[in-house]
Subunit: 120 residues, 4 copies
């Protein structure tokens, strides 16, 4: 999954605004569903972020083509941990460990079997 850095992603510092790397990794998480013809929102259930541990290694700049790599770390009944990295070619710019909880109708819920299979 390639992500182009546009004006909207940069700030006055000339590089990508620190918050937007988290948008990029969220796009990659959603795309795992979309590329299978599924939606990240099923029957009122979806993943919400519970914690993020992010390291900013190098800056992305306007026009860069970035790649997000998503690795499975762990799954429990109602939560999922992923490790996501952003690369520009061979250079790693960013990495984050993201813990997600599955929530249905506003309450923590068991991850449905077909969704669990996407990640395992």
């Amino acid at each position: 999954m390639q992500i182009r850095v546009y004006y909207e992603d940069t700030d006055i510092g000339g590089v990508v605004y620190y918050v937007n790397y988290l948008k990029f990794i969220e796009r990659a998480r959603s795309e795992l569903f979309f590329e299978r013809g599924l939606s990240p929102i099923v029957d009122g259930g979806s993943f919400v972020v519970r914690s993020v541990r992010a390291e900013y290694l190098k800056s992305a700049v306007f026009g860069d083509l970035l790649v997000v790599k998503t690795e499975f770390v762990e799954m429990r009944a109602a939560s999922l941990t992923l490790f996501q990295e952003i690369f520009r070619g061979d250079e790693k710019l960013f990495e984050a460990t993201v813990r997600l909880a599955f929530v249905q109708d506003g309450k923590p819920a068991r991850i449905p079997q077909d969704i669990a299979l996407i990640f395992k």
Copy 2:
């Protein structure tokens, strides 16, 4: 209503990204409700934007304190037209005429009387 320009609002050009002026005027529209203890979303009804005519006169920069001025132009049964300007001190930076439609449960609907009174 004062709006501070933060990193998130700027882009690599060192000024406010053109799209974000439209965020600022939307905040001002919502604040018309909030400052009266109301919400812009009532019983599944809310305004949606139908058209925008925007002129960019001068650029806002990081750290600026901006003021949004909202004037009533016209109201019909199901739509509302506003004229909104953004100032930095005496300088006008931006102006837009925004036409909004009232939508309830996904369909155009009559603007409720109490909401009409906010604007008239």
Copy 3:
């Protein structure tokens, strides 16, 4: 140029936040440069938006794949007018006429010949 609608693009109304359609058409303008191996920022010169006339026809929703179509309207020495539409399949969701000025080192400047050729 295809654009996927992610969480970041939606709002509480369940559709794309009205401001973000303007992000989508900006991506398409920048991509005209990138796909030719060029950058929209050359020697301190770039286009800035002077006016936008936008019509919101239908709403895009989470997961949609959108296409932006950009048509040349007019070019003068220092400004450029484009007509941009956003489609979901055959349905037109949005259209805008955007007038851009070429600015170099903060001042209006003649559009360089090689950039003019991209649009003509």
Copy 4:
């Protein structure tokens, strides 16, 4: 420092998009400078984020008035660690430990004395 939750901050889930809490705490960091009549960018030097450890405790919703509380954790020659929390009334919604590096002309640099004093 109070922050209102507007349409732009929410997503289709009806709550604040997870990325935007990081915008809110950045506004608070910048405001520490602005409220003293200073700018977060001085002589080409500014703080950039090196790492974030964020916990999402409860969700903010449209119209909420949030307060960001920023606490000093540690300062070294060229880096600074802050602990930032977001509250809605008495309820804590979010907390993050943010490590920032001071960068001047693209390179790590000693934090200037007057800036160090803001945080100590």
